[in-house]
Symmetry: C2
Subunit: 151 residues, 2 copies
């Protein structure tokens, strides 16, 4: 299967939204509503976007995507590439697409002098965890992530 990994452009918007809804269903989370989808696309293709998107394409079909942005480690004094979402559509798993997206992200991170890549995974998603452990990532078990909801 011929798959190209590339930066998303605006014409991918509806395909990306379709896959986000698929991801929400897979993760058993509330999908973004219409207004949030519109805001997401507006932000993604704004002049100073708060995140970047990679997509995996096969003959004009978008099969997978990754949303990422940069955070910062004060102790390392280096940027971190933070992977907010990665999703490979159900029908296209086990073809190494996730692996290729990861490789591309690692390249981007190194080019931007990041010292780390980080992301969160749902505890029950054992397949993803197996993949993350295989590529040498480690869980930060000594830390707890806190959230304060503002709206």
């Amino acid at each position: 299967m011929k798959v190209t990994i590339r930066k998303a452009d605006k014409s991918d918007s509806s395909e990306i939204i379709r896959l986000i809804k698929e991801l929400a269903e897979f993760e058993k989370l509330e999908p973004p509503d219409k207004l949030a989808c519109r805001r997401l696309i507006k932000d993604a293709f704004s002049i100073n976007p708060p995140f970047e998107i990679l997509v995996a394409e096969n003959y004009q079909n978008i099969l997978a995507y990754a949303f990422y942005f940069y955070t910062y480690s004060t102790f390392r004094a280096r940027k971190t590439l933070y992977l907010e979402d990665i999703y490979v559509s159900n029908l296209y798993r086990s073809h190494g697409i996730g692996q290729r997206i990861f490789k591309q992200l690692i390249r981007i991170a190194k080019k931007n002098r990041c010292s780390r890549m980080e992301w969160c995974v749902l505890n029950w998603n054992k397949n993803a965890i197996k993949f993350y452990e295989k590529i040498g990532a480690n869980p930060l078990d000594e830390w707890t992530y806190y959230r304060l909801v503002l709206d």
Copy 2:
């Protein structure tokens, strides 16, 4: 005690570095080395800084600081204020300084239309956890944080 919460400026650099080393000792983590400290200050006061700093000042003494930046929730399609570090110097705890910094961060987050504030805490830091629970924050227990070290 008269304490002012304000944005850091370059003249605060050496005081901030002193407190970062205090935090590393408190957290039992390796403090940033000389080169990392230099890079951190350079990044902090660059034209397009990857993070922002608040400090708490009492008669020219810096007593506390917070490093933060913005991440993004694709499902909410809103920014998140991510608190990378917050530290109140040992001698000045239990004076409500941490609370005032948090209040200021919440104001900044709301002004920037963030829907959330997030941060990590070391599991053994029960005092901090008690404070976070008191202000209404929740641990994301169903997620695991992964890290891939690149250098």
